[in-house]
């Protein structure tokens, strides 16, 4: 007789969002989606696809309240071409009465903004035409990046084809060392398994360390699941999730969890006592070394970027404010700090963080993805080196093809901005 195995959180959520009530990892499904998201790079193509799909029919968008459009990559419009792209989103939102369109000045970086606006809930299926859509797994949702055609079709049908992924369980144990954050845990993990270590898989983050990890760090970890090739990152909702969601009055009956006898592709254990702050060296997020080793290399920097969908949250700004207050940015470099949303920006002003940053000699940018992808607001010249709290350091990612990007946590980036070379707050 065949043993009936338990299910992972990911299998359960996806099974509840499709017609095949026996679907398990490996099965293809047409998933009913709760929300879909696109930005100024991916939405124009998605909108074109949508028009082609509904052509000649009287069909409308499947549900206007379930579509989220956020111009954040080349905004505020960097040139005429990107202005035209953004206009396509704006016009589409008006035409289809899409209330979850977030204009420049009233929004921010999509993956900081969506949870902040209460647009994603535990147990939901959320797809986004942006690879870092995997961020929302931090709330116990299944969320994943798709392409523009997927999104255009989803806007018409409310559905998306998905293969239910197998899961890899990552168990983190022990207390975090000083100056170690969720960013260091995920960089360490990617360093261990490689940029294709979790291809097609759901990365389930668990263990006593995760149970004590603040929400901002959880978002950071799930955000970078894609950098290991993961389809999604996910964390079982718990008390920390509940207290985060209290602002939105969300109920706990949508909390899913994995069965004890669920089947995993692999189970990997990490002892956090062994984990120092981590740096990903050029040109790959898995080229990871510990800070003590990189500190000795005395890598001099031209630019430091603190922000992005990975590390642009209020907690990140609070942590760097402690370091930058009453200190000065090294005169050899530029430090660009980017609050993730307008709400985060305002709170950072109210709490005095922004004043500390300006006094230190950093520049504060409007919420934008800008420099992360070499778009604008901090593009690198040939031969320049940047330390960034973003998520990718591919060749040419932040500008010239012969520039270099190193990745770290916000506190390491802030300490390095003061010293002028890559170092830890421990050495300040």
């Amino acid at each position: 007789m065949m043993q009936i195995m338990g299910l992972t959180i990911t299998e359960k959520i996806l099974r509840d969002h499709c017609q095949n009530k026996k679907a398990v990892a490996g099965d293809y499904i047409m998933a009913e989606i709760d929300k879909c998201l696109a930005n100024d790079i991916t939405a124009p193509i998605a909108i074109e696809v949508f028009e082609k799909v509904i052509e000649d029919s009287k069909a409308e968008v499947f549900e206007s309240s379930k579509i989220v459009l956020i111009p954040d990559h080349f905004t505020p419009n960097k040139d005429v071409a990107s202005a035209a792209q953004c206009k396509i989103l704006r016009d589409f939102a008006t035409r289809h009465n899409i209330t979850n369109y977030f204009e420049v000045g009233r929004g921010g970086i999509e993956h900081c903004l969506v949870p902040e606006q209460g647009l994603v809930n535990p147990g939901e299926v959320f797809i986004g035409a942006d690879s870092h859509t995997c961020t929302y797994g931090a709330l116990g949702a299944f969320s994943t990046g798709v392409g523009s055609t997927d999104l255009g079709v989803a806007m018409a049908l409310g559905k998306c084809w998905l293969k239910i992924p197998e899961s890899i369980k990552f168990i983190y144990s022990g207390r975090l060392n000083e100056w170690v954050s969720g960013k260091d845990l995920i960089l360490y993990t990617i360093g261990e398994i490689g940029v294709d270590g979790a291809t097609y898989k759901a990365m389930e983050f668990t263990g006593d360390t995760i149970k004590g990890l603040p929400m901002a760090d959880r978002f950071t970890m799930c955000n970078m699941a894609i950098e290991a090739g993961g389809k999604s990152g996910i964390i079982e909702p718990d008390k920390i999730t509940t207290s985060y969601l209290e602002a939105f009055k969300k109920l706990e009956d949508c909390f899913y969890s994995s069965d004890k006898d669920a089947e995993y592709h692999d189970i990997i254990n990490f002892e956090c006592a062994n984990i120092e702050p981590q740096i990903a060296l050029p040109h790959s997020p898995d080229n990871v070394k510990s800070i003590s080793e990189v500190h000795n290399m005395k890598i001099e920097l031209d630019q430091v970027v603190i922000g992005s969908c990975t590390n642009g949250r209020l907690a990140d700004l609070r942590n760097i404010a402690k370091i930058l207050k009453h200190r000065k940015i090294n005169k050899k470099l530029r430090c660009i700090i980017i609050p993730g949303t307008q709400k985060i920006y305002l709170k950072a002003i109210e709490r005095g963080y922004i004043e500390s940053f300006v006094n230190a000699g950093a520049i504060i940018s409007t919420p934008t993805c800008g420099p992360c992808l070499g778009g604008h607001m901090g593009v690198l010249a040939e031969g320049e080196k940047a330390l960034s709290t973003t998520n990718r350091n591919f060749r040419g990612r932040m500008g010239h093809v012969n520039s270099e990007v190193f990745l770290s946590s916000p506190v390491v980036a802030a300490a390095s901005a003061i010293k002028g070379y890559i170092t830890s707050p421990e050495y300040l």
Partner: protein, 163 residues
Amino acid sequence: MIGKVIKYNLKNINTDLIIPARYLIKSDDIYLAQHCMEDLDRDFVEKVKTENYQILVADSNFGCGSSREQAPSAIKASGITCLIAPSFARIFFRNAINIGLPIIEFPSIGKLKTDDILNIHFEEGLMKNISTAEEFQVKKQPSFLQQIISAKGLINFARKQIE
């Protein structure tokens, strides 16, 4: 299909190499195709055109990084009609299927080199290297994906669902 191979023996060819973000200010395929792979090989577009390359072969985890569909679209618009690699990053994989760009997961890329002529029978899962007279079985996509592939992409597949 019968076509000539252009090969890059490199793992993790990411979406920023395939189409750098600085060009994503427009979504016109012809414009994007002009810059396809330029940070990896400045002459890629020219070579594909003058040598009439149709099959792009690369090492594992091809297309990792961004969700930008502009990556497979730029490759398709540059004149490439089939991609072969041991593995593909998942969003790139679905984007290629969705836009109707044939994609083959083939582990033994050591058996293929630039300028080889391949004859690929997608339906039978057969690939013949005419230049070396070798024949390979290649993995066929599961039947669910075959429906999207035979509709020549997700748009047509979805249109049928609406009708």
